[in-house]
């Protein structure tokens, strides 16, 4: 999902995640029901880190895994390694760099192996190299049959990986295209097909 600031991308994601009630209409996920009903099958990554600064990486993941009924530490450790973090690092999250926090936030969102992932700006504050790695990881996750919504300014990162681009402006979906190779610069249609 791409679009200018204020287009409503984050809001839409929050509504889909069940964090906000829509003013009109309703949301049905996974053909089953509202976000609360399928909470264990969806994962949400917000704009803010959604982590406890006073705990270290594994402590955070252990707590959140518990919320989904997962007791095995191995899950958290795997998730941290997947995003490129060291599970044995005892540093508190408050002392992480921005990029590390971003990656741990992603780990937290996908910890419980959800079928539907809602990611808000997963690449912000992450260096280009790592961002490309993350995009590739997302692609592989998609190949395993998961659905991923990604809100981002950096549509270039998603070019090789995304199945569909959804363009939003001023609170409405303006266009959608199922493509892999279309060149789209965020916010304008320059050099692209619509």
């Amino acid at each position: 999902m791409v679009g200018d600031n204020g287009a409503g991308k984050s809001t839409l994601l929050r509504v889909v995640a069940g964090l906000m009630q829509p003013s009109q209409g309703s949301v049905t996920l996974l053909g089953a029901g509202t976000a609360r009903e399928v909470a264990h099958r969806i994962g949400y990554m917000g704009h803010a880190p959604l982590l406890y600064d006073e705990l270290d990486g594994m402590e955070n993941l252990r707590y959140f895994a518990g919320l989904y009924g997962l007791q095995d530490d191995g899950i958290g450790r795997d998730a941290m390694r997947t995003v490129g973090l060291d599970p044995d690092l005892e540093r508190r999250v408050g002392q992480y760099s921005q990029g590390m926090r971003q990656r741990l936030s992603l780990a937290r969102a996908v910890l419980h192996n959800p079928e539907l992932m809602l990611l808000d700006e997963p690449f912000s504050n992450v260096d280009v190299h790592s961002a490309r790695d993350m995009a590739a990881v997302l692609g592989r996750v998609r190949d395993r049959g998961k659905t991923i919504f990604v809100v981002t300014h950096q549509s270039a990162l998603m070019e090789q990986v995304a199945d569909e681009f959804v363009h939003m402006a001023e609170g409405k979906i303006v266009s959608r295209e199922r493509v892999r190779q279309v060149q789209m610069s965020a916010g304008s249609g320059a050099g692209g097909e619509r």
Partner: protein, 229 residues
């Protein structure tokens, strides 16, 4: 305004005039307290209206939590405000009556204290409504209203018990016991008049709140629609 509304307002004004005449001139003077006792005709009906308003607020708040109907919220807001006004009247007329008669401005008896606590609870409700930001003001206020209303009987019981342990002067202890029939007459007229005034105020405030809600909803609609250009 609809002709029925105008008629009702005129009727109420006339009723109020008549009941005031009854209270001030027709009803006999109380033998021990003198003319100051006539405050009773304002004090007790005000308490009655306040109580009814707060009960309506409770029902409207429950309705809002269950149905999320903004009209229910409008009624809750209106009844709380009018209730607080009448409750204030009770708290002011009480001491004015008490001072010349019993020599004290205030006493912590069960009824007065409960009225004071009631007033505090609903003023805090109004302040919450004022200070809450965002679209969820109505829900938060409705929740608080339920807490407040559930608390009232507990407040009364606790103060009653406190007073049996630590007795102190009771104001106007049994006004309703042995009320002279001529006084009862004036009292009932005032009760009716105040109830009608209460209804008018609540309905007026309710309509105002409904309009405010509508404006808010329209703004939201425009914001949504404004996206398509």
């Amino acid at each position: 305004m609809k002709p029925l509304s105008i008629a009702f307002i005129v009727f109420t004004l006339a009723l109020l005039g008549f009941s005031t005449y009854q209270a001030l001139f027709v009803a006999p003077t109380e033998q021990t307290m003198g003319d100051v006792q006539r405050i009773f005709y304002y004090h007790v009906p005000s308490a009655w209206v306040a109580g009814v308003c707060f009960f309506v607020n409770f029902l409207a708040s429950v309705a809002y939590i269950l149905k999320r109907n903004s009209d229910a919220d409008a009624l809750a807001a209106a009844s709380a405000e009018v209730g607080v006004v009448f409750c204030t009247i009770v708290l002011i007329t009480g001491p004015i009556w008490a001072r010349p008669v019993w020599g004290i401005w205030w006493t912590w008896d069960a009824r007065l204290t409960t009225t004071l606590v009631l007033w505090l609870i609903y003023v805090s409700y109004l302040i919450l409504r004022h200070f809450a930001t965002g679209s969820q003001t109505k829900l938060l206020a409705a929740v608080l209203a339920i807490f407040g209303f559930v608390d009232v009987p507990i407040v009364y019981m606790s103060i009653r018990w406190f007073r049996t342990q630590h007795p102190s002067p009771v104001m106007g202890g049994g006004e309703n016991s042995g009320l002279d029939p001529a006084m009862l007459h004036a009292f009932l007229w005032n009760l009716l008049a105040f109830t009608c005034v209460g209804i008018i105020l609540v309905v007026a405030r309710y309509r105002l709140q409904q309009m405010e809600n509508e404006v808010e909803a329209e703004h939201a609609r425009l914001a949504l629609a404004g996206g398509a250009r």
